[in-house]
């Protein structure tokens, strides 16, 4: 059967239809709209396209039914989702929800060959006796790895209270940037975010030993490297 390329969004629709049908026996456009959190017109549009590709039977006022081709396609997508989700959950020790979210995105672009190899890898790690140490290692290290701010630049207004940073650049295009420079906000200056004002527009920073205040809007024009 020809693998005609359909968009990720349409694949999501197929998946949704398959799931709803498995739960309720049939899928109404309303259910699809609810599950995917989209508006009715978008659903109608997508269904028309899917019908055009022969993946569903679509008549107005009748529940949507997958064609055999549609069923096969939906199954394939679900399988990709499952493989990936399991990999993220079991090998990378990512929590269920994040694993599922991430899988939802990647499932549309991963090819069948890659998916199969991922599945084999995951099974090998889970079952082979010579992977016991690896299993232990993953169990120990994975959960402790979080997204760190290290080496990630951010703008001055994104610093958290108590966080320190090194100024990388002050946007020269900002009218009045001169005033910031004069106060000591120059490249490599060390700043410490101290707090925000009530109603949050002003920031309080420590710079060159004393506190200065700055508008959040202006702080957006200063790039810092958190330390």
């Amino acid at each position: 059967m020809a693998e005609n390329n359909i968009s990720s969004s349409l694949e999501d629709y197929l998946e949704a239809i398959a799931e709803i049908t498995a739960d309720n026996g049939h899928a109404h456009t309303k259910d699809i709209a609810e599950r995917l959190k989209v508006k009715m017109p978008s659903v109608t549009n997508a269904l028309r396209q899917l019908a055009g590709r022969g993946l569903i039977h679509y008549e107005s006022h009748a529940p949507v039914v997958l064609t055999p081709a549609g069923e096969a396609r939906a199954a394939a997508v679900q399988q990709r989702h499952t493989t990936l989700q399991n990999f993220f959950r079991d090998v990378l020790k990512v929590d269920e929800q994040s694993a599922s979210d991430c899988a939802c995105k990647i499932e549309h672009v991963i090819g069948e060959e890659v998916r199969q190899r991922v599945a084999v890898l995951a099974r090998a790690i889970a079952e082979r006796p010579d992977c016991a140490e690896l299993r232990r290692y993953l169990e120990e290290t994975m959960p402790g790895i979080h997204a760190s701010q290290e080496n990630l630049l951010c703008t001055l207004d994104q610093l958290q209270p108590g966080q320190r940073g090194l100024v990388t650049r002050v946007d020269e295009k900002l009218p009045g940037a001169r005033r910031l420079t004069v106060m000591g906000l120059i490249k490599n200056a060390e700043v410490e975010m101290e707090g925000r004002a009530p109603f949050g527009d002003l920031l309080r920073l420590k710079l060159l030993g004393s506190s200065i205040t700055l508008r959040a809007g202006d702080a957006e024009h200063v790039l810092v490297k958190p330390v």
């Binding site: 009218p175 009045g176 420079t181 004002a197 009530p198 109603f199 527009d201 506190s211 200065i212």
Partner: protein, 715 residues
């Protein structure tokens, strides 16, 4: 050497410049103008041995290159070529930022003296300075001082003497801005020297300014031929290094400073969290900041009104005794007009102003305290969010607070607001902050019409209406007339300090003096004029034969009390007739047409004329019109007269009108000066007048329609 040397005092805001200025010039020498905040050019005199010094306190600035008005003024003064010595005051506990200005001052290559102020704080923080090295580095002798306590001042004076006499000369600083930039500066300087050999300051300074594209320098015609070369250098540098010249030079300066500090400044203690930080974590906290602030404001007002009360009573008594003494010793027959002028006009008028002096003194004292401790910048920080929503600035807050005392220093205080648009908006709404001059009006009317338990409430309502109107108007102005993007707002939060009592008094006095000046001149003049227009022209042919009637009553067989009463009534009627005939009366009658829809009769209208000159005069004028001699707001007879003639609704409308209407003459004058625009000044005056009329109209008509307040509340 018998000539006057000129010394400029420069430094960042919060470096303690003004305190040192006061120490050097003895008393607080202000030349002329309203001081407000340190933006005006202040100068004073000092004598050191046989040397005569003129000392100029420059505005507090962070740099000589930015484009704010203060920085322009300072640069102009320093570039004039007439400065013999620069005293650079730095906060030695916060050196790095303060030295930024120093690097620029050093480039002027004028004799420079560094004053390391706040030496006690520096020591507490564990700083140790290698003064020799620093002196050599910056080419300037260094003197340690603790300005707040007057320590080090003698040493300072001695060093200044020596320098002026040529006994202490250090080789000038030699800063390097990197090989490229140095070459460019050198090149430009040489070109400048050839083209303009008679520049008042070393060509090197101008070379740097040209490279920085300093707005003022670049605009001067004599530098025009050098602009292309400067432009070329700027372009080259940006191309090579990828930053523009200003940023590059700023970087270099801070590099120079950190280099110097690394060598010559050691920190023995490493106390990261200071007391100021701890205080700030509470006072500027996102959640507690505002409530704490509101509480502090409440305390300020409490302090102002409660503590001032006994003094107000004292002053009232003083004026009363004065008036009585004059009445007793000046026979009624001798020049009766002048007698009346003195007692009713002048003492009555000026007295009613000075009675509120204690309120003003205490308010300004409280504000001076908050400013001195450094809390005011925190207040601006905390309030900024709220003020911003109404189109105002965090820094608008202090002027508006001052407005509760007197609009004149309040308008002056808006100079701290750098954004012109925000500044103008603030100036336009300041008169709506119910100033102390309106207090006599409220104090007269409220007890006349409202029972005791509602009195405080009504007062609060009036104040609140003022504030609400101000905020609404500000929002309106900001979205229409003064629409525009906000400019970069950076403000330093200086470390908390305990101000000395002396400095508090000086600051309190500065603003109070403005108020008194207004009282002494405008109000005095206005009182006299008002008296005259209420007296002249004198009606000679009276409707009733008062003399005859008086005789008849006196000769009648009535009891003495009854006689006295009838005589009093007759006298009142006579005065009333004379008044209607006078200029004031006629103007009142004329205005009545326009003011009747808001419930005012000719007397109130006439009294409002007085209010234009100074709000306080409304009461005394009303007193004159009701023939109650030397009336003030405590005057029972006047209150009774009001009660008999007006309803509470009218009373409220009178207060509302007085709250909103155009500001007094003194304020108008100051607004004209500060905005530099007749258009805006007139817009404010007329706009507020119309707004006042509209507000009173709505309230009066609605109230009459709903039958509210047409009877005495609770009576």
């Amino acid at each position: 050497m018998k000539r006057t040397f000129r010394i400029a005092l420069a430094g960042n805001p919060n470096a303690g410049k003004t305190t040192i200025f006061n120490h050097l010039t003895g008393a607080h020498q202000h030349v002329g103008n309203y001081p407000g905040v340190t933006v005006e050019r202040k100068s004073g005199h000092c004598r050191l041995g046989e040397l005569e010094l003129e000392i100029i306190d420059l505005p507090g600035i962070y740099s000589l290159t930015s484009a704010t008005a203060e920085e322009r003024i300072a640069a102009e003064e320093l570039q004039s070529g007439e400065i013999d010595l620069i005293l650079d005051i730095v906060d030695s506990a916060n050196l790095q930022r303060h030295l930024y200005l120093t690097t620029q001052l050093a480039e002027l290559q004028l004799p420079l003296l560094l004053v390391f102020n706040m030496a006690d704080d520096a020591r507490k923080l564990g700083f140790k300075f290698n003064y020799d090295q620093l002196e050599r580095f910056f080419g300037a002798p260094i003197v340690k001082t603790i300005g707040a306590q007057g320590i080090g001042i003698d040493r300072l004076k001695l060093t200044v003497s020596k320098m002026l006499r040529g006994e202490l000369v250090l080789p000038p600083a030699r800063f390097t801005y990197g090989v490229e930039a140095d070459r460019m500066i050198q090149d430009l300087a040489e070109q400048l020297h050839t083209a303009l050999p008679t520049l008042p300051i070393t060509p090197r300074y101008y070379a740097i300014k040209l490279l920085e594209h300093d707005r003022e320098i670049v605009a001067r015609p004599e530098f025009a031929p050098l602009l292309p070369a400067a432009e070329e250098f700027r372009r080259q540098l940006t191309e090579r290094l990828g930053v523009d010249m200003e940023t590059f030079l700023a970087d270099q300066r801070y590099g120079i400073i950190s280099g110097a500090c690394r060598e010559a400044v050691k920190r023995t203690l490493n106390q990261r969290i200071q007391i100021s930080d701890r205080l700030d974590s509470v006072l500027t906290s996102r959640y507690f900041g505002l409530p704490i602030f509101l509480m502090i404001m409440f305390l300020v007002f409490l302090f102002t009104f409660q503590c001032a009360d006994p003094f107000i009573g004292l002053i009232e008594q003083l004026f009363e005794s004065l008036a009585n003494a004059i009445r007793a010793h000046w026979p009624e027959s001798a020049a009766p007009i002048f007698r009346s002028l003195l007692v009713d006009g002048i003492i009555g008028g000026v007295g009613s102003v000075l009675v509120f002096l204690p309120n003003i003194l205490f308010l300004f004292l409280a504000i001076a305290f908050l400013e001195g401790t450094g809390y005011m910048s925190r207040a601006a920080y905390v309030m900024d969010g709220v003020m911003h929503k109404f189109g105002l600035h965090g820094k608008s807050f202090i002027p508006m607070l001052l407005g509760f005392g007197c609009s004149v220093p309040a308008v002056m205080a808006t100079r701290t607001i750098e954004s012109e648009r925000d500044r103008l908006t603030t100036i336009m709404v300041i008169p709506l902050m119910s100033c102390s001059a309106r207090l006599p009006i409220y104090a007269l009317i409220i007890p006349a019409f409202f029972v005791e338990k509602y009195q405080a409430l009504v007062m609060w309502i009036i104040y609140l209406i003022g504030v609400v109107l101000a905020l609404v108007l500000a929002r309106l102005l900001k979205s229409t007339l003064f629409k525009g993007g906000d400019e970069v707002f950076v403000m330093e939060l200086p470390p908390y300090r305990l101000p000395t009592f002396k400095s508090l008094c000086i600051h309190m006095w500065e603003r109070t003096a403005m108020y008194l000046h207004k009282a002494g001149t405008l109000i005095l003049a206005a009182s006299i004029i008002l008296f005259l227009i209420s007296t002249y022209p004198i009606k000679t042919e009276l409707a009733t034969d008062y003399a005859g009637e008086t005789q008849r009553i006196e000769q009648s067989t009535l009891a003495p009390e009854a006689k006295a009463e009838q005589l009093a009534t007759l006298e009142a009627a006579q005065k009333a007739e004379l008044l209607e005939y006078s200029v004031a009366g006629r103007i009142g009658r004329g205005l009545e047409v326009v003011l009747r829809p808001i419930g005012f009769d000719w007397r109130v209208s006439s009294a409002l004329i007085g209010a234009f000159a100074a709000k306080e005069l409304f009461v005394s004028q009303l007193g004159i019109l009701y023939s109650v001699g030397d009336a003030d707001e405590e005057s029972m007879p006047l209150r009774t007269a009001l009660r008999e003639n007006y309803t509470p609704l009218q009373g409220f409308c009178i207060m509302l009108f007085c709250l909103v209407t155009m500001p007094c003459l003194a304020t108008v004058a100051v607004v004209r000066r500060e905005t530099n625009s007749w258009k805006l000044t007139l817009l404010q005056a007329l706009g507020l007048l119309v707004l006042a009329w509209l507000c009173a109209f709505v309230v009066y008509q609605l109230g009459s329609f709903l039958q509210l307040g047409t009877q005495l509340l609770g009576a």
